[in-house]
Subunit: 157 residues, 2 copies
């Protein structure tokens, strides 16, 4: 991965050394979206299996994902976010909102809501309705107006 390539005394550069490789943040997004198994993530992203395997191993090594066996015979594994990984939620949310605002023609494909009151979550991870400062575990997502029609219908069902 990028390793110490940037070589800077800067926490933003250090974050990018861990997360800045192509696909890495989308893999983390997938795990946030409950795609936890290798084949689910591979299908979602359509990337080469060896690239995905390398990225997942890196994220486990960095303590962002945890690999857990969910079946014994034959052994099968899934990936879960650690606390360190869950703390990337504000990064995800701020990038998502910037894309909504500037790259999605006013039609967000995904809406993020507060589990408590169903209010929309703003770009700071704060509930627009009740003002609560949220963490990953207190939010859920649903298809937005920019989602493909079949996803919107599935959410409405």
């Amino acid at each position: 991965m990028l390793g110490r390539e940037y070589g800077q005394i800067c926490s933003l550069a250090r974050t990018l050394e861990v997360l800045g490789e192509r696909w890495t943040l989308l893999i983390i997004r997938d795990v946030f979206s409950r795609r936890r198994r290798f084949d689910q993530i591979q299908e979602s992203l359509g990337i080469a299996r060896n690239v995905l395997a390398a990225r997942l191993a890196w994220l486990v090594e960095e303590g962002i994902l945890e690999k857990r066996r969910y079946r014994e015979h034959p052994p099968r594994y899934e990936y879960l976010l650690t606390e360190k990984g869950l703390e990337l939620w504000p990064v995800m949310i701020s990038m998502l909102h910037w894309g909504d605002r500037h790259l999605s023609d006013g039609a967000p494909p995904l809406l993020v809501r507060h589990k408590g009151c169903e209010g929309l979550v703003d770009d700071r991870g704060i509930c627009e309705r009740c003002g609560e400062r949220l963490e990953a575990r207190s939010a859920y997502t649903e298809a937005g107006p920019g989602a493909p029609a079949q996803l919107r219908e599935a959410d409405a069902a």
Copy 2:
């Protein structure tokens, strides 16, 4: 650049298509830190001049930076953040804080403060002291405990 490589109906993927290329977010960080001229950014990052030129042209094309002539004879240019670029501030802040927390041994190299009350800015871009929700223009930075000694001394002077 990444172009439509990710090919996903997702605002986070779209954001990464614009910003996910290596160095791009560090170039934006530099402009946030008032390194606005080609040579300043090149010296700060130590990247190849042709790579920097390509990234800057891309960021101008995407409407994130604006190129402005600041001297006529000979012509000299600097790069400024547009409103669209300034709205990346919450992304910068959340990545910076995650790196502070997990990758900088409890000694942040950079502190971000609210211009109004000098309170520290939290990972959501909110002032820890007065609770104001801040934007890029209402914050300033100073060397933190993890900065190289010469920077800390320069800030204290």
